[in-house]
Assembly symmetry: C2
Homo-oligomer: 211 residues x 2
Amino acid sequence: MSRSTRSATQTRDRLVAAAIEVFATEGLQGATTREIARVAEVNEVTLFRHFKNKNHLLQAVIERVLALQAETLSQPEEWTQDLRIDLHHYAQVYNTMLEAHEALIRTFIGEAKRHPEEARRVIQEAARPWREKLIAYLQQGQKRGTVRSDLDPVPTVDLLTGMLLAGMLRRCAAPTPLSYSRDCYIDTAVDVFVQGVRATHAAIPHPETAL
Amino acid sequence: MSRSTRSATQTRDRLVAAAIEVFATEGLQGATTREIARVAEVNEVTLFRHFKNKNHLLQAVIERVLALQAETLSQPEEWTQDLRIDLHHYAQVYNTMLEAHEALIRTFIGEAKRHPEEARRVIQEAARPWREKLIAYLQQGQKRGTVRSDLDPVPTVDLLTGMLLAGMLRRCAAPTPLSYSRDCYIDTAVDVFVQGVRATHAAIPHPETAL
DNA sequence: CCAAAATGTAAGTAAGTACTTGCATTAGTG
DNA sequence: CACTAATGCAAGTACTTACTTACATTTTGG
């Protein structure tokens, strides 16, 4: 670990990067150590010199993905306190992240029952900071009176991210393109969500809005 | 096809049913013909006598799934024309269907890039009639003035089903249960959606204050 | 009952899989 | 330069997979 460790960690990184790619495109089952080594442009034996077995490589992949996600999140949000503007901006950024990791997200959704812990970390844990930021924002909005106070912010936030996730899955799975564009979907999602959570101005005694 | 075809189709049906189960739990790649035959309680050779290869069996599985889905749909909807009641009922039924087919849906989401046509048929085509019913309902609501007319009903419907799909994926993947219940999520989804798509009171039976 | 259809059994093939072993070769460091 | 860690290369092991072949056995309908 003292001498020529540098090139060693380089090939290790190349292996992890290749594994991310192959796991994403071929699935956890379908990915072969041969293919991963080929993509990394190293010998297959080198793979096993760096990682005890395929599962250890998977663990390294997960660590790497979570680290990458943490970097992406490092940029601080600034809220304008305009529900529509803020949530639209948030939705755009979140959707970009979803599309960037589409293949990997698909893989872990499909393999969630066989690798529950890994799927949870990649999907849930990676999105958690975003989720908490948005939860805090909605709570703030409730205090300011701009967001309905009869809503639980936690499931409410999951509604918005859920719409975006499902939209991404629907779009990218369809060989025939949908009748509407991605931006149309996102705009509609934010539009409906904003009107859905916005406080009805003067606390209207609407018979149905009482939860 | 004349003589003892009856028992032949029986074992064929058993094979398809077993294949649905094994494909759902093990994935399309992970499912082995041995395991499928074992679950169907027939010899593996019998599987290959009925289906040329694993892919032909997969096609039969898809046909069967779509047929089952068509049956489920045969019950006609009756709308009360109360947005909240109708959509809540719809969401409950749709979510029940999602949870019933969770494993298979996961499998095809994960394998969508490797089997695009099959995934499209199972996920998209199976849900199409439901989708169209709901689109028609929203259009009807727009004509009656209860639903915002500035919304495109198509992406709007996909928002609702998307929230439900994502909710199911989130719930069932989590080893640690979420902080809210399934019913809470569905109620919140319908609640936000209804307020999000409802026409800002101009032509509503009760004289309400404007937004 | 009897012929044909359907299934079971045993064995095998060809290919792919994760993973190992032994040895030669490269490349960085002191 | 010399030492050594890192890698490449060739081959092999033990296992699994989809799928096949040949033959014995059971089931079924006329």
